[in-house]
Symmetry: C2
Subunit: 340 residues, 2 copies
DNA sequence: CTGAAAGCGCTAACAT
DNA sequence: ATGTTAGCGCTTTCAG
């Protein structure tokens, strides 16, 4: 056996010190019912005196939870790291987890090798489950995890027929509402800057955009959309393209806050006024964007609820409760700041 | 005991299937020497057939490494998440770790409660060590970890008398070189936008700036410096302040790439030309900034080496090798793109 | 309400 | 070269 840390007291030592059995100490540590208050206090005292901290490896091994969940993201989405969407996701999941005493572990997966290693890590019992953020439709990771029978929850579906548990917003409805709003304000030359079209979320928003236009008998055609990747730079580039193709554009639906910010820059560079001349609506509505472009109309995703829902689904899978549906779609909300 | 996963084979089952003892299987799994090639192959086969994956909790408990290290960051530095510096750090640490088969876990620590929980998690034996990024001078976390005798390595010192193992760049020297370069180009009205002055890295860069000026007999005075926080927004604001105080400024040393980008924006807004009119030097030199402001002169930190050094120090502490110094200061390098 | 005892799956020493 | 054995520290029945 490897060296032990002689400065790390064990449950047994606490028990000896408190003059009780190990089982009792275990019960106290885990806040289990059925321990006389005086005993409980004595044990607590011994714990404090010895500076006892439970060995988590032993605890996992003995069969309880790992008390940790992983939030994994793949390399292609690495830039999400800098996006408010990701920051907000981590925050909301962290908040939801805080109450449960579960440690949140972020992992970045870049190569297939790392993908494999991560699955082994997870299968090894070091996490209770895995949260996956905005996975590409062709990413094998969710299936690898499912095959390993690991509780998994996706933020964002990979397709309309997603079988892994997921939490998503009503992207189609949100886009439809946004375009309907613009139409209601008299805009008719409405363009769209999409997200990466190999992501279902981007397809949904594009569909919502098209549906709203079709209902108004205004089919836009492919030249009215440009693909971006949620970043500001892509929004700027896409807007420039759209302006070149359609100088008469009078409104734009952008894939995200950040994309919208990029679009605004391009519009200003082209000497267009926002929103008088061209109205812009973006998805997300994060504080960052709100500060930067206060006049922006946005479609809000209920981030806090999404985090809560993800954690709820994951814990349900962990407990094998199967409590309710494994799929959650939350409503979006149009946030109007200024007449568009 | 809680439910076991009947679909998760154990070492023992592999041993039975391969017709060998558990010890042999363990040796094969851990690539230990001293196993006949034919046996090794037989065991590998059994492993594949059963889909065996080692239980990491059991492995840790039995005394070996946790095969994971945590990279922790505190809430105040949350915005670093979006900064290339942080992304680059994670990448370089990830690369250095990839060769060793150790899982990198990122953890965000927001409250004192989470700080405590994280220390318990780490003390619980779930990580071999902790990497800390740009800690504030007054953060208790490093000391909490040291007290728990957990291998810890800081990226960036908290002070000149740092006792915890660290990796840092020669910030004073880098700033001095940068200012010397500017002086050599005939610039004399040189301002500085610093990082948060409760961070040692910011103090060092400020000192380097002052030293270089003093050597040239050009003491700047406090009105020539403005404090930022490494973000672009702070750089823009600080530059505006400096311009208001000293319209005759002809060069600026910025705390980071990103800060420099903000300063450039402010300069452009004020109608100044860069670098003809005002030369700007930023720290870091990341691809992002290079793309955005190609004419920027920068002081480069050797990120890849920093990652390697952090991992090396951490593993040395883990192995109790105490191989060499626990403190590493790497040289910076002035990257000149255009005459300043 | 509490103590004793049986593992959890693995590693590392010790035999063979 | 390989099998056997003794724990690692904890949770959880099962008796008292």
């Amino acid at each position: 056996m490897g060296r032990r840390r002689p400065d790390t007291p064990t449950l047994e030592e606490v028990a000896a010190r408190a003059g009780v059995g190990r089982g009792t100490v275990s019960r106290v540590v885990n806040n289990a019912a059925g321990v006389k208050e005086s005993t409980r206090r004595a044990v607590r005292e011994a714990i404090a005196e010895l500076g006892y901290v439970p060995n988590l490896a032993a605890r996992s091994l003995a069969g309880r939870r790992a008390d940790a969940v992983a939030l994994a993201m793949t390399e292609r989405d690495w830039r999400l790291f800098g996006e408010p969407f990701f920051a907000e996701t981590v925050h909301s999941v962290g908040d939801a987890l805080a109450e449960t005493g579960v440690q949140l572990l972020l992992t970045l997966i870049r190569t297939d090798d790392e993908r494999k290693r991560f699955v082994e890590y997870a299968r090894g019992g070091r996490v209770d489950g895995v949260l996956l953020v905005s996975v590409r439709a062709d990413d094998p990771l969710p299936d690898m995890l499912a095959e390993a029978r690991l509780p998994t929850v996706l933020l964002g579906r990979r397709s309309g027929a997603e079988r892994v548990a997921y939490v998503d917003a009503d992207n189609t409805g949100g886009a439809r509402d946004a375009v309907a709003h613009l139409l209601g304000r008299g805009r008719t030359a409405i363009a769209a800057i999409t997200g990466p079209l190999d992501m279902y979320v981007a397809q949904c928003r594009l569909n919502g955009y098209r549906e709203a236009l079709e209902r108004a008998g205004l089919g836009g055609g492919p030249s009215w959309t440009a693909e971006g990747d949620f970043t500001e730079a892509s929004g700027r580039r896409a807007m420039a393209e759209l302006l070149a193709r359609h100088p008469d554009v009078d409104a734009v639906l952008a894939a995200s806050d950040t994309t919208a910010a990029g679009a605004l820059t391009a519009l200003r560079e082209a000497g267009r006024r926002v929103p008088e001349d061209v109205a812009v609506i973006g998805f997300d509505d994060f504080p960052l964007a709100r500060d930067t472009v206060p006049q922006l109309t946005t479609v809000r995703q209920p981030m806090a609820e999404m985090g809560r829902a993800m954690v709820r689904l994951l814990l349900a899978e962990t407990d094998e409760h199967r409590a309710g549906s494994r799929h959650v779609v939350l409503p979006t909300e149009l946030v109007i700041r200024e007449s568009a």
